[in-house]
């Protein structure tokens, strides 16, 4: 398929390459993020609540 695409202009390598970068980043972000424990993010996830009441433990999702 990409041969047909490149037959128009070599510049069309750009979208293929960019799509490829996206795929690598996406999978990387997924793997790095999802292999972390939820509680690793608990503190930062509570940032909006700091000025108000802190969430009760049973209300926290993390």
């Amino acid at each position: 398929m990409h041969k047909e695409l490149l037959s128009h202009t070599p510049l069309l390598a750009l979208p293929i390459f960019a799509m490829f970068v996206f795929l690598a980043v996406f999978l990387g972000v997924c793997a790095i993020t999802l292999t972390r424990k939820r509680r690793a993010y608990a503190e930062v996830a509570s940032l909006p609540l700091i000025e108000g009441q802190a969430p009760r433990k049973d209300e926290s999702h993390e």
Partner: protein, 774 residues
Amino acid sequence: MTTTTTIEKRTITYDDDVSRKFVFASVGWGIVGMLVGAIAALQLAWWPANVAPYLNFGRLRPLHTNAVIFAFVGNMMFAGIYYSTQRLVRAALPSKTLTAIHFWGWQAIILAAAITLPLGFTQGKEYAELEWPIDIAIALVWVVFAINFFWTLAKRTEKHLYVAVWFYIATIVTVAVLHIVNSLAIPVFAMKSYSVYGGAKDALVQWWYGHNAVAFFLTTPILGIMYYFLPKAAGRPVYSYRLSIIHFWALIFVYIWAGPHHLLNSALPEWAQTLGMIFSIMLWAPSWGGMLNGLLTLRGAWNKLREDPVLKFFAAGITFYGMATFEGPLLSIKSVNGLAHYTDWIIAHVHAGALGWNGLMAAGMFYWMIPRLYGTKLHSTKAANYHFYIGTFGILLYVVAMWTSGITQGLMWRATNADGSLQYPIFVETIDAIRPMYWMRLIGGTAYLAGMIIMAWNLWKTARAGKPVNATAEVVIEIEEDKVPWTGIVFGKPVILTAVVGGLGGLFLVTNAMAGLFFVTVAVSIALAGALAISAADKAKGGEHLWHHLLEGRALIFVALTIIAVLIGGVAELVPTLLAQPDPQTLASAHPYTALELEGRDVFVREGCFNCHSQMIRPFTFEQQRYGDPSTMSDSQFDHPFQWGSKRTGPDLAREGGKYPSLWHYNHMIDPRSVSAGSNMPPYAFLATGKLDLARTPDKLHAMKSIGVPYTDRDIQLATSAAKKQGDEIASDLKGQGADVAGDSELVALIAYLQRLGKQPETKTTTTPIAENK
């Protein structure tokens, strides 16, 4: 890597005055924008509502869209961003001057739009209609906003940037890029310019901008607002912070690619259409990830919805976000798009997003903020609940009406008899069929507007009952002096991994040594295995100094990576088309518009005819039967701006030239119903008395020449006389048939333009293009 920590106590007073101003500006402009929308809806259902030239549908519709997008949502977004950012980064806004310039500058821009659009000053590009001086003002005010925002980040005492702030960063940098690239135009005089892009190039840039205006103006800032205000209102943190990280990066990487789904089945190169379709379908995943993250934040707090109108609005708004982001990818599938495009289905989709997602989230945020900004309680919870129910009813009525109308239109356009002929060959038959839906839409929209007015009253009473409060917070700040150098982040393992995988992919591509499934499998495996290895290594170190965690504390690097993420898609998609050279043979046989036709085209653009008439015949049999041969790229190569349109309230005009005699067009403009019974088009009799300023015509040709339209110096010199001559011939022809109109009238110029569409000029008459063949 070492870290030193000092502890300091500081009192912070937030600048909440600007949020108060933006909230009330949003509510006020929102009511204006929706009122104009209701008038436009009435005009479509009942044409006599087009009461004056400057209030015709073609001029009001851009006013409606600009007011709702940039005035209502824009002001709401600024209110939310300023309020939440100060609290999230624990720093007050740094400059009252910049804040004032931002607020008043933005209101001045809106006012300028409200004046110039009805006067017919437009660039003719949807959601980017404003003329070049206003475009420059937008860029400048946006830069002021950016400086104010990033200066606040620079002053922050909370090192970590919460996910909401990432979405704000993406909004600020991407909107700047989109606006500048799409607005590039060559000025002709004070309020007139031509887009530097033409035809398919202009279409691609415009919808790259148009779609991402939805993405980065109507979506990402509101998602940031969701990630801040929803946890506040629910009293619990976001359901999954991990999901929000994936949501953010996936969304900004994918969204920027999806623009060409507005141009499916058009003359745009097939590869660009395919990219647009694929990325639009991929967009469903991050969008729903965000939507579920929002709704699940309410887990365990659903009972609060009974009492709290704020949560009602948020829950319904996020649900509409889910619905609209399911419908968007669905509409981007080429076959579905073949049915839905140019119909009211798209209008339903847009309003599910604008009224449902943006409007309800705005209401929820306002009801939450105003009592706190005035140190009091909401004046009437009952009225807020009433607003919620009448607003939701209004949206549903609106959307159902437009779904029904759109699918009816789409099916009627393609319906054929047993012999293959069109079942509804007269376009206006389809308008007659959907007219009841137009009335239903008007009722739905009016109900929503009524809800907005109730909210305005409620917020005003709340503000009157309290006093403006600038929140003060005394915080214990831990100032960490992080010794991780910037190179540790920029050249961190994930970046290196991406570069390696990307480079490997590029190498495969260039050498063409491997292809297909193997090519993808190897790359994916490397990316996945590498990322897992990095994660495992981080864990082994006890989880300190995680790469992404470090990144979230470095605003500048975060901004840079966001820009790269956004630009990768934009550049890769736009550059191949923008650099493509037209086929020399096609160029040689093509003729630019004559001077008079160009003047007529300007009238067409000024009156906003593209709001109802497309100029793009799709390669479907039923379209060929109705309109003629499918449009090609060369048909519109000299069109600055392109006029492919996005909606057919009237028929396509791509091959209108020669279909009817000039007298028919004359009568149609004076009284559309005299030749097309049942038409809902406004009358344009005022064009018969409107005079062209032919002294300016050479300047227009000159501007066109400077952006690549092949006019010669002689064409430019003789433009005025050639236009007058062609106009007099058409007027003489009309006079012979009983229609008396001056040759230099706007109506004659418009007829000249319409008669040219889809046709190359005859070579022996004076209507011959004055440009030389090249």
